[in-house]
Symmetry: C2
């Protein structure tokens, strides 16, 4: 059995050894650039963990694990164009460093490379692995579209929000675990439990992100605290607040949402005060815990020894206590 | 055996029956829009012809044929953003009718749907069919990048140009015939000959396009005559002219290439006069005929009866005599 650290080292090696053509450089250099600037490599590690849950021979999962990381980075490259984001992981985004056309086309070829890597799998697994990948890839695009649509809407329900983050973020984590499990010769039933584990964990993880954006310690969180508030981003906290606020609080909140001229610190403080008043942090934490419990229930159902499940439990704990 | 007309009807029915989710509409509506506004459906017809060359049962090739058409339309959707093109087949392009973000994301999901359709193929063909598709998809992206790079270059050699059009346009036609052939139980050798047939025919087709843009009759050609000249597009005609012109002609030509202020008709006439002087139309036609001959040689090598080859010969003739 591998430790998380060992799996991370295997993944880093895989990423370093990713083979891409040399030319045209405008097409392949941005892929190398984006893949090299890091990230947590959560998706390939989860893929290997899904496999390692069932077997010590994780060879078959290595290329698909890398394929899932390449896919994730493809979505980042295109999302950053759409979101007009200048910075990713502290570096210039691809469309900033080169231009939008390069980011579009380089992203396209990245998706093709992801498929190539997913296909480096034994024949018996080829169709099931690609079926999961196709379904997930379409869902991630749907999630991004729904997220962009939210910007144009005045209100969004909690259910609509949870559906969006499931599609945009969580299903891919589910797909990673499920793919790894299948490649580790798990039964379809166990692989499905792992999908549900990853999906529910992913939703919990995104809810935590909403909380940390407001309540995280800047040094540990690594982003500007209050960024979501400044941008009027429809997070769980804002959606829940709009749902619960009395008319007086609502007027005060909407004044902040509708003004273009404000001092950031003042807006962040005022909106956070409203969140505190309505106790939405505790509601978000409760919602998050519900998803964590769902995830752990699915892990419980998986028919393999408890000791093999421990790394996954540790990984989930690492993910979910970034702040404390 | 099917006639070209019958295959075209089968393809049109396939396109009409393409199943896509209803929502998010911003994601799927543009795909339906672009697929509905037509085009020659050359790629799926070639796929079915490749199959029908070897068997009368073309069932297995139907979904992949549609997948190759969806892929082609995906490249159009993204290329139109990159080329800033307002019109496609007489209608607004997707990024014009909606916006660039919609065209990026809708295109992305279109590529995923193309893979889904390619996968609707018997297990025995799954890996070979997807290997051809992956290789071709990456090459088409490379061709588009090289084409964009050409705009920044002062000179391009004929070989570089032929390589670019091979990647951007021709390899996909080769892949269609090869995929169809494999799904018709052709030998790998015959399928390879069909790939070469399609690729060489595709290069010939593109060279003809360069000729027609200058010398075609507007009613039959369906585009503005001289569009390439107005845009300084590095076509075979311009590249060959820059290679052959004496210094005096070169000065005159470069005056037209370097001025932003001109009357279109005057520029088209002046540059066409230079082309005529150097006889580059005949050189382009000779080059084109070379590729047609190469294509027909490969068809000759295919081990199936002459009568089964006739529709492909007819199709090639239809493609290559759009003007006369």
């Amino acid at each position: 059995m591998y430790s998380i650290k060992q799996l991370q080292e295997i993944v880093n090696k895989q990423v370093e050894e990713l083979v891409l053509p040399e030319t045209p450089i405008e097409l392949y250099e941005p892929i190398k650039y984006l893949m090299a600037i890091g990230g947590k490599r959560m998706r390939p590690v989860l893929t290997l963990m899904g496999c390692n849950l069932f077997t010590d021979n994780i060879e078959a999962a290595k290329s698909p694990a890398l394929g899932l990381e390449v896919f994730h980075n493809f979505t980042l490259m295109h999302d950053d164009i759409m979101d007009n984001a200048p910075i990713r992981r502290g570096k210039e985004t691809v469309h900033e460093k080169w231009n939008s056309n390069v980011a579009i086309l380089s992203g396209d070829v990245m998706l093709v490379k992801a498929y190539e890597l997913m296909m480096q799998t034994p024949d018996a697994f080829l169709r099931p692995v690609l079926n999961i990948f196709n379904k997930t890839a379409a869902e991630v695009c749907e999630g991004q579209q729904i997220d962009m649509n939210f910007e144009q809407l005045k209100t969004v329900s909690v259910d609509e929000y949870l559906n969006m983050i499931a599609l945009k973020t969580a299903v891919l984590l589910g797909a990673c675990l499920q793919t790894g499990a299948l490649l580790g010769n798990a039964s379809n039933e166990d692989a499905e439990h792992l999908y549900q584990l990853g999906k529910n964990l992913g939703i919990a993880f995104q809810l935590q992100d909403d909380i940390l954006d407001v309540y995280g310690e800047p040094e540990k969180f690594g982003k500007q605290v209050g960024g979501d508030i400044i941008a009027n981003k429809k997070t769980f906290l804002l959606i829940k607040t709009l749902e619960l606020a009395d008319s007086e609080t609502l007027i005060s909140l909407e004044r902040w949402l509708n003004t273009d001229v404000f001092i950031s610190e003042q807006k962040v403080k005022a909106v956070t005060d409203i969140y505190n008043q309505l106790n939405v942090k505790a509601l978000a934490e409760a919602q998050m815990q519900q998803y964590v419990n769902l995830a752990l229930n699915h892990l419980n159902e998986v028919r393999t020894g408890q000791e093999r499940k421990q790394p996954l439990i540790d990984f989930a704990n690492q993910l979910l206590v970034r702040e404390q």
